[in-house]
């Protein structure tokens, strides 16, 4: 009797205590039409991107995911802070969702902002399995806007993900159609002289590296909210309105440089966390990052949202207009980017005039001891060869060939501009540093951390309650968007307690970048490069957080076997 009374009282209290929402997602095989080609893909509730999930901070969400595929699937809630069993990584958080099975996710929403979700199985995400998450804050936003749109970018490729992986493993330059040609040689000769051009080619040929190696996977159609450039997704506005655009880069491999000719953009949020507003003309969005910007078009005209890929091999385009059907000019793409020797400066053996490439030394530091911050070969030599590049930007190697500039000569967003609106954690000294060298071999298409691929790697062990400083040393010639699941990445931009809080940090070639993590989430988590084919090739780790409230000690030996394809 007493128990029943208590239950009744509790059930009456529940609606007052918290919101609860239930959502249904089906994972389906679908057709994706980019306007350039139609391909088989994977979507949610019959489309890609899937439905926009709108949550409210404080809500207890229940999400039923039904797998209509003939293979295992999963959904990872990218950037959401939640119990690790809900994080959706097969083999790390849970066994995955088998064909025909309905899996129910259940977690409290403890944050606000723009995020996204995607499959963490195989190449389902490049094949289309992703969608947007928008979480309305409990309190007031620190900025005003009249309407908001999600602007979700992707790089839709005519080939299926597993085919792309196979082609890259077999022929690493399979998709690179921006390689230097005989024609480019002669135009360089006329600009820089014969000897300089020959010397340059010999230096690169000696390393067996390509200046054109900015984008591994070209030949895609850039899409915004499921529409290719010809299909032109359009967001309608009334002149004078403040529009919040929630940019999400759901690409498999592609960084985009985004601008809206004619409009200033005020960046107000990065990776779901509010930042101190900064006005920019253009910004680069890394794979898996999000940026929220506010624009205020005054005139009753159309504006083009133009997103060129970092290597200029493709673009996405959309329109903001007072009414459907209007459009503004679409600018031409700029010239393809070329790497410089500065971008190579992180490679071991590249630090003495680039002449000693006999072996890749130190390729097997499998231990994550972390306290070893002794100087690694090739570090911090970014300023040694600056003869080639003209641009210098923070977070890029000095003289880098891929440091961005705004098309209109104005302000290009830098990580250095990002300052947290409100620090999430008390600023404190890190308890230890862990060095992670980002390593790889383009000619074999192997990607690894500290020279060790995921298949051969031990987990990274963190202690609950510590604050770890991660030191990323990029020894490759590619940009890697590193994503730690479950815990925030406090990016060190030199702003102390105002350092921005992110879930994905881009580490540029030939550079060293630091982030700190408050280890406040027990369990085990994925930590990887978010370029789909780099992660699959081995640039991936499992992180185990030991200790913490109400958990048994993590054990990797006595564990259930979770098979299937991840």
């Amino acid at each position: 009797m007493k128990a029943r009374l208590l239950a009744g009282a509790l059930s009456m209290l529940l609606p007052v205590v918290g919101l609860a929402g239930e959502y249904d997602l089906t994972v389906d095989r679908i057709k994706i039409d980019t306007g350039d080609f139609v391909k088989e893909g994977i979507g949610y509730n019959g489309k890609s991107p899937g439905p926009e999930l709108r949550f409210k901070e404080g809500e207890e969400v229940t999400i039923n995911v039904t797998n209509n595929l003939d293979e295992m699937t999963s959904i990872h809630w990218h950037g959401l802070i939640l119990p690790f069993e809900q994080d959706g990584v097969p083999g790390i958080s849970f066994p995955g969702i088998q064909p025909g099975e309905t899996f129910t996710y259940n977690f409290p929403v403890v944050q606000a902002g723009t995020y996204w979700f995607h499959s963490h199985s195989g190449f389902q995400e490049p094949d289309g399995a992703f969608g947007a998450i928008v979480i309305e804050p409990e309190g007031r936003e620190p900025f005003r806007y009249d309407r908001d749109y999600v602007v979700q970018l992707t790089d839709k490729h005519p080939h299926a993900g597993d085919r792309i992986m196979r082609n890259l493993k077999t022929t690493p330059d399979y998709y690179n159609r921006q390689q230097q040609t005989v024609g480019e040689f002669f135009s360089e000769v006329s600009e820089q002289g014969f000897m300089n051009t020959v010397k340059d080619r010999l230096a690169w040929g000696d390393m067996r590296m390509m200046k054109a190696d900015v984008e591994d996977v070209q030949g895609f159609t850039g899409m915004i909210n499921g529409k290719g450039p010809k299909q032109n997704w359009t967001g309608v506005f009334k002149p004078g309105e403040r529009i919040r655009l929630r940019f999400i880069n759901s690409s498999a491999m592609t960084y985009f440089d985004v601008r809206i000719p004619g409009l200033d953009m005020t960046v107000v949020q990065a990776d779901g966390n509010n930042v101190q507003p900064v006005n920019v003309d253009e910004f680069r969005i890394g794979v898996a990052e999000t940026y929220d910007v506010i624009v205020r078009p005054q005139d009753a005209q159309a504006y083009t949202i133009f997103a060129e890929s970092m290597g200029r091999s493709g673009f996405a385009r959309a329109t903001l207009a007072p009414e459907e059907g209007m459009q503004a000019p679409v600018p031409p793409m700029r010239d393809p980017a070329r790497l410089t020797m500065a971008d190579m400066a992180g490679m071991p053996g590249m630090d003495h005039g680039g002449m000693d490439h006999s072996t890749m030394s130190d390729m097997d530091h499998s231990s994550m001891a972390g306290m070893d911050s002794s100087s690694m070969p090739g570090m911090d030599h970014g300023d040694m060869m600056e003869n080639e590049g003209e641009v210098s930007a923070p977070f890029y190697a000095k003289g880098s060939g891929i440091a961005p500039t705004a098309a209109n000569g104005g302000k290009f967003l830098s990580y250095a501009d990002l300052k947290a609106q409100k620090p999430l954690y008390e600023d404190r000294e890190p308890t230890r540093e862990i060095e992670l060298r980002l390593t790889g071999n383009m000619e074999r298409y192997t990607w690894s951390i500290n020279g060790v691929k995921y298949e051969d790697a031990d987990p990274i062990r963190l202690q609950y309650g510590e604050r770890v400083r991660f030191k990323f040393v990029n020894e490759t010639m590619m940009t890697h968007p590193m994503h730690l699941h479950g815990m925030w990445s406090i990016l060190d931009v030199g702003a102390g307690e105002w350092n921005p809080i992110k879930h994905t940090v881009s580490v540029q070639p030939g550079t060293t970048l630091y982030m700190e993590t408050e280890v406040d989430a027990p369990g085990q988590w994925a930590f990887h490069c978010h370029l789909s084919y780099h992660a699959a090739a081995g640039m991936f780790r499992k992180v185990i957080v030991e200790g913490g409230p109400e958990t048994s000690q993590p054990s990797t030996d006595a564990a259930t076997d979770l098979g299937g394809d991840a």
């Binding site: 066994p95 995955g96 040609t181 005989v182 040929g205 067996r208 993590p554 564990a559 991840a566």
Partner: protein
Amino acid sequence: MSRIKSLVAAGLLGSVFIPAVVSAQEMPSDTTDRKKPLAIGGAQFEEFEYRYSDDDEELAVWNADIFYGTDDLKVRWLSKGEYAIEEQAYEGLENQLVGQVPISKFFDAKAGVRFDTPEGPDRTYAVLGIAGLAPQWFEVDTNLYVNKQGDTSAELDAEYELLLTNYWILSANLDATVAFSEDREIGIGKGLVSTETGLRLSYDLIDRSVSPYVGVVHERKYGDTADFAEADGGGTEDWFAVIGAKLSF
């Protein structure tokens, strides 16, 4: 007494098994494909062509590589054939089955067997080779062959691709064979045996899967090998016009 025993046993069992079960439920170990080496397979025809020689000989020629394996170990079936269309006979037919492992950043070692089964006597060799990418983008493939009689020979294959554009590619290759002992029966003399030099202009028609090409190929025999060929009534030098396609699946 027996009751105490069983209690103790239960207690022991519990203390051993329960924590294991709990952690098993909470901390999965990753046995997904992501944690396993990625195995890749494919078939590539570097040459798949028709050759027409300066003395009206017609040949069908292929040079194929069918492979399967991981970063650490690949198995390759390397097949080369020269089929004389008029004579309906294989001038050359060579199949290798090799295992391949990486030995440095850019080079792999190969070991296996080679079976030569052309028109005429057959040969079986053990193969030891090194293949990879040399500085300045030269693809090189060197092999050492030894047969049961102890006849040894070496072969060097080098290729360079010049990008006229990103789709029009001019590739040059040189294949040279040196024998360290004579094998008269199959017309091999000691010393430099033969070279094959080719120049092919290709166009990537469908991705890098189908790339039709035209080109010229020059074959020459040297030293004792040339003398043997002449004694057997054959030529020592041939020029071919070739048309074909590079294929990759």
